[in-house]
């Protein structure tokens, strides 16, 4: 693969794309190999791999849910959709659950502005949920197979803990 890019350092991003396609993510051994093959410093390779949001440095979660936060989706209630997803998955945006089952991601525009708001669940696009009706949204999400709401830990910034039993 590295040879296909002429072993040239400027092919780094292309090579990383292909490694990720093969392995699902960019492991440290893989990055080491890329650095060796392209004759690049390790920190340079890591700097590039960690800069771009589409490169994953951890194994991907079993299920991935990406909510579009593009402007068209935002204007049509993507914010409420995102809140619903965060509640259901117990995750913040761009976070993966500890057990590696779910990942909640944000994307900037999926180009489906005509069907806004939209989300992608395990590679399948779902469009136009009833984002402004909380109960209908909830059943819409249930129909997609999302887990029931997980209790979020208390938000940071609440009054001090002293005095709570």
């Amino acid at each position: 693969m590295i040879r296909r890019h002429g072993g040239q350092s400027h092919g780094l991003i292309e090579v990383l794309h292909q490694v990720q396609e093969l392995d699902g993510f960019l492991s440290k051994p893989a990055l080491l190999q890329v650095a060796r093959g392209l004759r690049l410093p390790l920190s340079r390779v890591y700097g590039v791999a960690s800069f771009y949001h589409l490169f994953r440095l951890q194994p991907p979660a079993e299920h991935r849910c990406a909510v579009c936060l593009g402007t068209a989706c935002f204007v049509r209630g993507a914010g409420r959709l995102a809140v619903g997803l965060r509640r259901r998955l117990g995750l913040d945006l761009d976070q993966t659950s500890g057990d590696g089952r779910w990942a909640l991601e944000r994307v900037s525009c999926l180009g489906a502005c005509g069907q806004a708001p939209v989300l992608v669940l395990d590679g399948v696009l779902f469009t136009a949920p009833p984002a402004d009706q909380p109960q209908e949204l909830d059943s819409w999400l249930t129909a997609l197979g999302l887990p029931a709401a997980v209790a979020l830990p208390a938000a940071v910034g609440l009054p001090a803990a002293v005095g709570t039993p």
């Binding site: 080491l32 410093p41 390790l42 920190s43 340079r44 890591y46 700097g47 960690s50 800069f51």
Partner: protein
């Protein structure tokens, strides 16, 4: 060698063609605050403290990375620039965890000096209190990310002077941080020659020798320039 003449804060000054605005300012006997710039390293214009006003230009120009041109009229210390510089320094303080009181670099820190220079008596921006780590894996040196201002002097001195390229910047935005190797503990990175140049040029207490405690760090930022001059102009004697 051809000469460029320009005006800096009302002073006429002549510098060799190819000089930067920063060199022209210094030639006029004046100064602007800098943090990321260091003589001997390629400029990155990242700290934005050396921005100056150039008559006829709508944009502010970074003195460290802009070439002086004939007839320019430069202003280095207007009220507007003072205001921006102070805000930039406040942003530096608020985004990291800079506690001068017990820092190794207290008393010999460029960030601390710059805060004085811009008259920063407090930060109007709330402190972000980021959770950052300390890497003490190297036998001789430590890296305290809490005090890092991402000037990338360490990255550049290691790459451009030492040639080891141990350091680079990882992540992006407010998550940016300096990494050694493949985000490894510094002590485990084979490429490191333990030359200590990164510690010498670090403007804050982020990189320091282990034997230093509070206010004991005394860096040598001039070494980058000395080495480059020795290498390129065969001038070893100051």
């Amino acid at each position: 060698m051809s000469v460029i003449t320009l005006q800096v804060d009302g002073h006429d000054v002549a510098v060799p063609a190819g000089s930067t605005l920063l060199q022209a300012i210094q030639a006029a006997g004046l100064s602007v605050p800098t943090l990321c710039h260091l003589d001997g390293l390629d400029p990155v214009a990242a700290c934005r403290l050396c921005l100056v006003e150039v008559e006829g230009s709508q944009r502010l120009l970074p003195a460290c990375a802009s070439e002086a041109t004939e007839g320019q009229v430069i202003h280095t210390d207007t009220a507007q620039l003072q205001g921006y510089r102070r805000m930039a320094v406040e942003l530096f303080f608020a985004e990291g965890n800079h506690v001068c009181a017990f820092c190794v670099a207290n008393g010999d820190c460029e960030l601390q000096d710059v805060a004085v220079a811009v008259g920063m008596d407090h930060s109007r921006f709330p402190y972000q209190d980021p959770q950052r780590s300390v890497d003490a894996s190297h036998p001789r040196f430590s890296l305290d990310h809490n005090r890092c201002i991402l000037c990338t002097r360490c990255v550049r001195v290691c790459d451009q002077i030492e040639g080891a390229h141990v350091w680079d910047v990882a992540e992006r935005g407010s998550d940016c941080r300096i990494v050694a190797g493949l985000d490894q503990p510094w002590g485990e990175v084979d490429a490191c020659t333990s030359c200590g140049k990164c510690v010498d040029v670090c403007p804050t207490g982020a990189l320091f020798a282990k034997e230093n405690t509070t206010a004991e760090k005394h860096p040598h930022p001039e070494r980058a320039h000395q080495l480059r001059r020795a290498r390129e102009q065969q001038q070893w004697i100051r």
